[in-house]
Symmetry: C2
């Protein structure tokens, strides 16, 4: 299996990308096609003694920056790692594409170059978020700011497919993020979406979920528009970071608290691991015709490696094919109504 990896995307590129790639080659037996500034990659690999076995480097002369306007960047920077990588994926030169680069450019590029599955207008960014009982998939977690009810129904179908196929959850539950449990709650779009989800075939819809209950992790999939998803994803990270920061201050306060930290070390490590999004690696763009995985912008080697693992599972399970079958069933049911 060949995974195409953007060597230039992310805050720690290319070093973390190289390290993650080398670990993935070793652990998962995949081949990597690494796109970016070849000279810089070879230099970093030599300096840090990272093996390039199983990694084929392809030089790209351009780079899409986080500040670039996504649609314009995809149109004009033809030799950037993102555009080259998505074209190689489309042409069958690799089985999946992984990047820690610009979410906007990946979203536009996935839509325009790789194209979308039948029944999907725009791919959704689907992030797995740690929670109390079990991690849940949040989609759309930031790609499509505004969404029609039909888009939300497609997200529900795709998220269920993913959690069943990739995460092995049985009959995954799906909830609609809303400001109250009752069907009458929320904006007109959400009220319509609620009704649509109730009759969507092949999903286990359990109703609305209120924001205060989202971190419990009682459901497998939380569906929302990309604006709300961005708030949920980033605020969860922000509040967790704030409290973990307060904890750190608490432990550093005096000799007694430092001693307490020593006694709690393994517990604190467990807590951090439970809250660690790096364990999940990346967020797939569900609805693209081939697997496109967005790794967190701050990814270190572990997150890159896990994003590659995620890509491998998507390919192994023919996730896109399965999802297309589920979406076709949804379309057939809608047409038959």
């Amino acid at each position: 299996m060949k995974i195409i990896l953007d060597m230039m995307g992310g805050d720690n590129a290319p070093l973390s990308n190289l390290e993650g790639a080398a670990q993935a080659v070793k652990e998962y037996g995949v081949e990597i096609i690494g796109l970016g500034d070849e000279a810089a990659c070879r230099k970093a690999a030599a300096e840090k003694n990272i093996s390039l076995d199983g990694i084929q480097l392809v030089n790209c002369t351009e780079n899409i920056e986080m500040c670039d306007e996504p649609a314009r960047a995809v149109r004009t920077k033809k030799d950037s790692s993102i555009v080259v990588g998505l074209n190689m994926l489309k042409e069958g030169k690799g089985d999946a594409f992984v990047s820690a680069g610009s979410t906007g450019a990946l979203h536009v590029g996935a839509s325009l170059i790789v194209r979308t599955l039948r029944g999907v207008k725009r791919p959704a960014l689907a992030t797995i978020i740690p929670a109390k009982n079990k991690a849940y998939m949040l989609l759309d977690s930031g790609a499509n700011v505004e969404c029609r009810p039909e888009m939300l129904a497609a997200f529900a179908v795709m998220g269920s497919c993913y959690m069943a196929r990739v995460e092995g959850r049985k009959n995954p539950t799906v909830a609609l993020a809303n400001n109250g449990a009752e069907e009458s709650k929320g904006t007109p779009v959400l009220r319509e979406a609620h009704q649509l989800l109730k009759t969507t075939p092949g999903i286990n819809f359990v109703g609305n979920i209120e924001p205060r209950d989202v971190p419990n992790g009682d459901v497998d999939v939380v569906v929302c528009d990309g604006f709300t998803g961005n708030v949920i994803l980033k605020l969860t990270e922000g509040v967790a970071k704030m409290i973990l920061g307060m904890l750190k201050e608490m432990f550093m306060a005096n000799v007694g608290s430092k001693l307490a930290y020593l006694l709690l070390r393994s517990g604190v490590a467990d807590l951090k691991k439970k809250m660690d999004s790096e364990e999940y690696g990346g967020a797939p763009f569900l609805g693209a015709r081939q697997p496109v995985i967005k790794a967190h912008g701050s990814s270190k080697a572990k997150a890159i490696k896990n994003a590659i693992r995620q890509a491998k599972i998507c390919v192994d399970n023919d996730l896109c094919g399965t999802m297309q079958a589920a979406l076709d069933e949804l379309a057939a049911q809608s047409a038959g109504e």
Copy 2:
């Protein structure tokens, strides 16, 4: 000063409401008009030995439940504590109204009975939320699901007034909750609101704030529609609760961790206090012509007492009058454009 208090609202009514009222009479020297089931109140007070000095009880025969449809409940339950209380406020029989009851009924009742300030379509629920550097005011935190840009500008003006007058913040900063720092981010409504806020007189607008930065508490006022505000408020509570729950498990794990807890006790207490919304008491409906304060549904005595303190400060500072002057200036500027 006379504060009208809903004795029936909240999960712990009437006991916590009575206790909070008695404490407020003692600490702040206010008089309380307590509305609700008079017999039940007298019984609870006698049983728990709560002094009714300074508390005048007025019997109400009806009660608005959390499950009642708000507009219908306000129209039909004329002898409920919320409707009677808002009418007494309007008629000048008291200076402010405090309730831990149905947010929806209070919102509708404040609009229809007390009415709104000139330039305000609907009052906004304004909640003060604990954060890393300093607590911030979030409005609308749940009353108006959808908001036009002009409503968001009015929220900014009112939130600034409140933070300056009641919380004593100098030249309070205001930010618009959005999914990116750039002006071009967000929905069309948010992009329009951003432009409007840039030219709104009398406020210190500092641009968009991303959800991940909200818990830092770097700004004094965060403006958003009530749907987004509900997500921010409830998710902040939910994530904090999840992590504090994990901490508790960590402390209870074994003998060493229990010992660690003893060493950290004061630090943990500080952390809890910092995250404790009860300290702030309640959320005012900004934009109502007279002070209407919503206390949290789960309020205990301390939260009720603090909501009464908040009501007192609003009255002492003629908050509604100050706010009307600021709104009139905004309207004059808009008309002069």
